[in-house]
């Protein structure tokens, strides 16, 4: 869907390029997260996709069309854009803010209004309550929701999100992330997402692009990156709790010893069970709660296997063993 080919950008007056030799693809319906320390060039990469920054060299294609040959304003109207500072127009009501891009695209009034109400509802705001308010009357979390609604207004197939949940407190951030992921399950937008928070990256990303000093140091699915970090930089970025993070991404079902036949009794399990699709982390939690070293693994209401502390330990040793 998005193909970026060997782009480079050096800002005037800078000694070294801000972005160099960057090549990646984002598949349709995926969330591709760019993660790295501040100043690493991830935002620059994002802003080149909708041409807020022009690359010095390289090509960017969206659906096979060369972005650099399109009219920038027309291009941007087909790409949702969410930034940390949100950038709501302070002199317009919330409704008018969400209606911005439909307005630019000259949608009929009724259709726009319909869409605005629908979107506010969708991002968890009450249109009747906030629609006529002005941005400064909203809380940080509400403003972020409006920012997302505004970006979704014209139903763009692609969204660029630069630290979209960065300005709110951790509790609200987690709620916004969860809600956004839920929305994404139905929308299936192609999303480029920038963050400096590795936990957010692992949680939100179908695919991670790890950036340092303007270059891509590693690409892959979260579990690929976690299990085989490319170098010390990635290892440090992932943090000391890499094993626990892996367990968060591993399904209990994948580590269990399955029963050949369903057991007659649930002896030894004592109602200590998890679902096969739940992460191993939940299984660990259950073990600790029940002071047990094993849990039963269910598929629906049928017990299909057993997950033991030893098999989890073996798994962690196996995957974290292959560091760089």
């Amino acid at each position: 869907m998005i193909r970026v080919d060997n782009i480079k950008k050096t800002f005037p007056g800078a000694n070294s390029p801000a972005v160099d030799q960057v090549t990646f693809n984002v598949n349709e319906g995926n969330i591709c997260v760019f993660v790295g320390p501040s100043g690493c060039g991830k935002t620059t990469i994002l802003r080149m996709i909708n041409r807020l920054i022009e690359p010095d060299q390289g090509d960017i294609f969206i659906n096979g069309k060369d972005v650099l040959e399109m009219n920038p304003a027309t291009l941007r109207r087909t790409i949702g854009y969410v930034i940390q500072q949100i950038g709501l127009l302070p002199h317009r009501t919330i409704e008018a803010n969400v209606a911005l891009v439909p307005g630019l695209l000259k949608w009929p009034r009724d259709k726009t209004r319909q869409r605005v109400l629908e979107l506010l509802e969708m991002v968890g705001l009450r249109p009747g309550e906030v629609g006529h308010k002005y941005p400064h009357q909203l809380s940080g979390g509400q403003m972020q929701r409006v920012g997302v609604a505004r970006a979704l207004a014209a139903d763009p197939p692609i969204m660029l999100m630069d630290e979209p949940f960065g300005a709110v407190d951790p509790i609200v951030r987690i709620r916004l992330q969860d809600e956004f992921l839920r929305l994404q399950q139905t929308f299936k937008k192609t999303i480029c997402f920038v963050t400096h928070d590795i936990n957010e990256a692992i949680k939100m990303g179908d695919y991670l692009v790890i950036v340092n000093q303007g270059r891509i140091v590693q690409m892959g699915t979260p579990i690929e990156v976690l299990t085989s970090p490319a170098d010390d930089f990635v290892l440090r970025l992932l943090g000391d709790d890499r094993g626990v993070k892996i367990l968060d991404l591993t399904r209990s079902g994948s580590l269990m010893e399955s029963f050949q036949a369903p057991p007659k009794t649930s002896a030894g399990i004592n109602g200590c069970i998890v679902q096969a699709i739940q992460p191993v982390k939940i299984a660990l939690e259950m073990m600790m709660k029940n002071n047990s070293d094993q849990v039963g693994v269910c598929s629906g209401d049928k017990i299909v296997g057993i997950l033991t502390w030893n098999s989890i330990k073996a798994h962690i040793n196996r995957v974290s063993g292959d560091g760089p």
């Binding site: 909708n50 500072q85 949100i86």
Partner: protein, 217 residues
């Protein structure tokens, strides 16, 4: 001391001077708004000339108004009268107007502009849908300052032949007529205060409720 006595005795004259005063201010304002708002908008898009233009405005502002009146009066083709008065006052209006337009536009939060750009607004759309409406309260405040300023400086135009409220003060001083001076000073001050008050009220009204909180901070 009986300045309202003076006003009552000379109603025709006072009225004529007052109307002259107001009409001069109105004409100056008309030309100044067209010219200087346009200049302000233009320099807000070309930062390189902005500094030069604004410091030019401040320099003009430091020249005593009487010097400008006197100097332009000596320029052939201008001479005594309304043409020179208008020209000088329009020049004086440059600093507050250009500055307020420029500062107003520049004070717009860059992240709002970035968001607008990122959503596909063109340069002109950003100017007229984001920057101008957000700058408008500041610009209007600049217009208010300008009108008050022009009303005051217009009194000095009496020295180049304008028959306005400044003339009451000027002639009052030369003739030693205290009532005349006070009549002139009081009327012109009241006009300035009234304009300031009324425009202040309008300023509050036209500011978008979404921007009002900033002024209240």
């Amino acid at each position: 001391m009986n300045f309202y006595g003076f006003i009552l005795d000379n109603t025709g004259l006072v009225l004529e001077y007052t109307l002259n005063h107001i009409s001069l201010v109105a004409v100056v304002l008309f030309f100044s708004l067209i010219l200087w708002i346009a200049v302000g908008l233009v320099i807000s898009r070309y930062d390189r000339i902005a500094g030069t233009i604004i410091s030019l405005g401040s320099i003009v502002f430091c020249i005593p108004s009487i010097s400008l009146f006197g100097f332009f009066m000596s320029v052939p083709g201008l001479g005594l009268g309304r043409r020179t008065a208008t020209l000088v006052l329009v020049i004086y209006a440059m600093m507050p107007l250009v500055r307020s337009v420029y500062m107003g536009i520049k004070s717009v939060d860059p992240s709002v502009i970035d968001a607008g750009k990122g959503m596909g607004m063109t340069g002109l759309q950003i100017l007229f849908k984001i920057q101008v409406p957000m700058a408008w309260p500041m610009v209007f405040a600049g217009i208010r300052v300008t009108v008050v300023l022009i009303t005051g400086i217009a009194t000095m135009a009496t020295f180049i032949g304008e028959k306005n409220l400044g003339r009451l003060i000027h002639q009052g001083i030369t003739r030693g007529n205290a009532d005349m001076i006070i009549a002139g000073a009081v009327i012109v001050s009241l006009i300035a205060l009234a304009i300031d008050y009324i425009m202040g009220r309008i300023e509050k009204k036209i500011t978008s409720p979404g921007l009002r909180f900033e002024a209240g901070k």
